[in-house]
């Protein structure tokens, strides 16, 4: 089978816009490459073969790391999902790798029998099974594509640092907007409910009250939401306890108090307490969901936390809503 395309290492405007877009959930599930074999530069039979997923952002990072290097890039069909997540679900897996090796006629194209796999593909790839089924030996590459040049220069060995996944503040900020966008509609729904409830007065309903009090509440809610969505990931290591739901609750409470102080809506004390209950529950839920974007949370821990915290969040949120409506 033919090589699909010769690709450059440079990113064009479209690649940058695409990378920003997917971080904001724009076209994220359609940001895909056609699976198959690609040529970076002018690779020959001795050139290294690097394997990646068909999420275009993953592919773009790999080809950018291969500036000035002639190499083959074998793209697996992971349905547009990145390497680590796809490996966890088994689509970046042994069977798909072996299938692509055969479909691309890789053994006729290269004389060596080595594949460089991203280390984070290991949850889906059984190296000894790949060797048995295809004849190709797996060499585990570094975690980050940016370390590929160093890895190749060192004779295909990764340093201990290259084998570690970290979660520095830059990475936390890069993944934060996606969560904000994904949950924005839910937050807005709560805002609309708040605005609607703001009009309830005694046994009657006041449209002007809904507009005024509701408007204040929606503005305050959006401000608190944005602050929690950015500050939560940013301050993650310093928020108290290891439980994300508690980290979120503490942050929500602090932001709630700050929001009331700064924007200062003319609310009574019980009204303010109801508000704090609501935003504390909301921020707790938001940060609990951030576990899915991190690099270190275990399913057993998340399961425990969801079972303990979710009921509390729901009760607190609903109680906050009712109390906010009743208190004047």
């Amino acid at each position: 089978m033919n090589v699909r395309e010769q690709v450059s290492a440079e990113w064009g405007l479209g690649d940058y816009l695409g990378a920003i877009g997917v971080r904001l959930n724009v076209g994220r599930m359609r940001y895909r490459m056609t699976p198959g074999l690609y040529a970076r530069g002018a690779p020959g039979p001795e050139s290294p073969v690097l394997v990646t997923a068909n999420y275009k952002l993953s592919f773009d990072h790999v080809r950018r790391a291969l500036a000035g290097v002639d190499a083959w890039i074998l793209v697996l069909d992971t349905r547009g999902i990145n390497v680590w997540c796809a490996a966890g679900k088994g689509t970046f897996g042994t069977a798909e790798l072996v299938r692509q090796i055969r479909a691309c006629g890789l053994s006729e194209r290269v004389t060596h029998r080595r594949l460089i796999l991203p280390q984070l593909g290991a949850p889906g790839i059984e190296a000894h099974e790949v060797k048995k089924q295809s004849g190709f030996a797996v060499v585990w590459g570094p975690v980050e594509a940016a370390d590929i040049p160093g890895f190749l220069k060192a004779g295909m060995t990764a340093s201990a640092a290259m084998r570690r996944v970290r979660f520095p503040w830059r990475d936390r900020l890069v993944v934060a907007p996606l969560e904000l966008v994904i949950h924005f509609s839910r937050m807005l729904l709560i805002g609309l409910v708040l605005a609607g409830l703001a009009g309830v007065s005694g046994w009657g309903y006041s449209g002007s009250a809904a507009w005024e009090r509701g408007g204040e509440a929606v503005l305050l809610l959006i401000a608190t939401y944005m602050a929690a969505g950015v500050l939560g990931p940013l301050l993650l290591p310093w928020l108290p306890t290891r439980a994300f739901s508690i980290k979120g609750a503490v942050l929500g409470l602090v932001l709630g108090v700050c929001g009331l102080a700064i924007l200062g809506p003319p609310w009574s004390l019980p009204h303010r307490f109801a508000w704090l209950l609501l935003v504390t529950a909301g921020a707790s839920y938001l940060l609990l969901n951030f576990t899915g974007s991190t690099t270190f949370t275990s399913p057993s821990g998340v399961r425990r936390e969801v079972r303990l915290a979710l009921p509390v969040q729901i009760v607190a949120g609903v109680a906050g809503l009712i109390a906010w409506t009743v208190a004047r």
């Binding site: 599930m29 349905r79 547009g80 999902i81 680590w84 997540c85 796809a86 490996a87 966890g88 679900k89 088994g90 689509t91 897996g93 280390q119 984070l120 290991a122 949850p123 889906g124 790839i125 059984e126 190296a127 000894h128 585990w140 975690v143 201990a160 084998r163 570690r164 996944v165 979660f167 993650l236 290591p237 290891r242 439980a243 994300f244 609990l288 969901n289 576990t291 899915g292 974007s293 991190t294 690099t295 270190f296 949370t297 275990s298 399913p299 057993s300 821990g301 998340v302 399961r303 425990r304 936390e305 969801v306 079972r307 979710l310």
Partner: protein, 104 residues
């Protein structure tokens, strides 16, 4: 940064280990070290149950319940009984199908 560790499922059978070191290579959190030609748990609390070590252990000396570690998937799990789906339209099969085959 570390997470909740009480329910961690990682188990290493040192007697069965042949000391190949693959677990230490693929682990992204430095959980394993090789000492006296055997794998040891150097930092079990750092385990995120990704399953890379167990997948690549040639003698099945490692056991871990790996899975999709996000709250969305767990909430879906509570609602629908399918814990592998985290909401995307294209990610909700694969491993799930494999689990069905192996009867897990």
């Amino acid at each position: 940064m570390k997470y909740l560790t009480r329910d961690l499922t990682l188990r290493l059978d040192v007697d069965r280990c042949v000391g190949c070191g693959l677990c230490a290579t693929v682990c992204p959190h430095g959980v394993f070290i090789i000492h006296d030609r055997k794998a040891r748990l150097a930092d079990r609390d750092a385990c995120m149950e990704c399953g890379a070590c167990a997948m690549n252990c040639p003698v099945e000396a490692i056991e871990v319940d790996s899975g999709v570690g996000c709250a969305e998937a767990m909430i879906n799990g509570l609602l629908t009984g399918n814990e592998t789906c985290c909401g995307g339209d294209c990610c909700c099969s694969g491993k799930n199908e494999k689990d069905k085959e192996t009867g897990q």
